[in-house]
Symmetry: C2
Subunit: 145 residues, 2 copies
DNA sequence: GGACAGTACATGCGTGTGCATTCAATGCAA
DNA sequence: TTGCATTGAATGCACACGCATGTACTGTCC
């Protein structure tokens, strides 16, 4: 890639810091709020949402882990363990994929869908607070310790 | 906060996913590249950069940890340990603050400044690749495992 | 001065993550 | 069919994180 002149570089850095700030504010608040009220992390919610979308779209067809992976920004191992947590919590079931027995198909349980529906308004509210107005929530701009 | 109509909600979610994708791509590639070539994590680089800026701006005055904290999106404990790593690597020195002996003042070492200057072009290059064109780097869109 | 709330940083602990590796199943080629 | 590279997912391991707490220092109020 070509070198950047200093003006382009400054713009890029400013854009990056803005992105970091928004991400930190939203991610921190989501993790805290979803965790406190629903026992879900940000990524857990994200996975539940993909499963809901997958089921609604494909007429209830279950998602394979390998289909889920590219849509969630986690390593394969982290996703594997996250699914194990969801299964342990009774929100999801894992079953062997008949077509390709290496694969695992995931299905939302009733409890999983319920949990998602309950958590969703809070999730959207947090997004509104942290992304919407442009004003960052101070209590999460720097994560409290 | 008021309820969102479904259109506003969809926009918010789209914005959030875009942000997540960009952040994941940039953060993953930064951590990998800076780590491989310079032994620095993304946040380590960020802290070095604040120290460089602080020193250049204030006429070489050292930064206190409490000044640094709000600019880095880390918990106080994570920052404390990050600084310990930088000190162990010889990139930074910690000293008691004379004015307020609870505080710690940080100063960049020569090695710290050098490391920063060496890593900076790569950092900017990665930002250009992941933020610039709008095209995400596929190899990091989903972190490899 | 002495007690006490508040602040700055460090540390014990549990947990989530990525990397490397492993294991099973698949597809292909000889 | 056998042999082998590839793929999907699970697991050992090290590490960075956040939370809760601990320790040292400051400032205030009595």
């Amino acid at each position: 890639m070509a070198e950047l002149d200093s003006q382009a570089e400054a713009g890029l850095v400013a854009q990056w810091r803005e992105l970091l700030a928004r991400h930190a504010a939203a991610a921190c608040m989501l993790d805290r709020e979803l965790g406190d009220r629903f026992g879900l992390g940000m990524s857990e919610f994200e996975v539940l949402e993909r499963l809901v979308e997958g089921c609604d779209a494909g007429g209830g067809h279950a998602l394979r882990v390998s289909e889920l992976a590219p849509t969630v920004h986690l390593s394969q191992s982290a996703l594997s363990r996250l699914i194990a947590r969801l299964e342990k919590a009774g929100l999801v079931t894992r079953a062997m994929c008949e077509a390709d027995r290496r694969g695992i198909v995931l299905t939302l349980t009733e409890a999983g869908r319920d949990r998602y529906e309950q958590a969703r308004p809070l999730h959207r509210e947090v997004l509104g607070l942290t992304l919407g107005g442009g004003g960052l929530d101070k209590s999460c701009e720097a994560p409290p310790d």
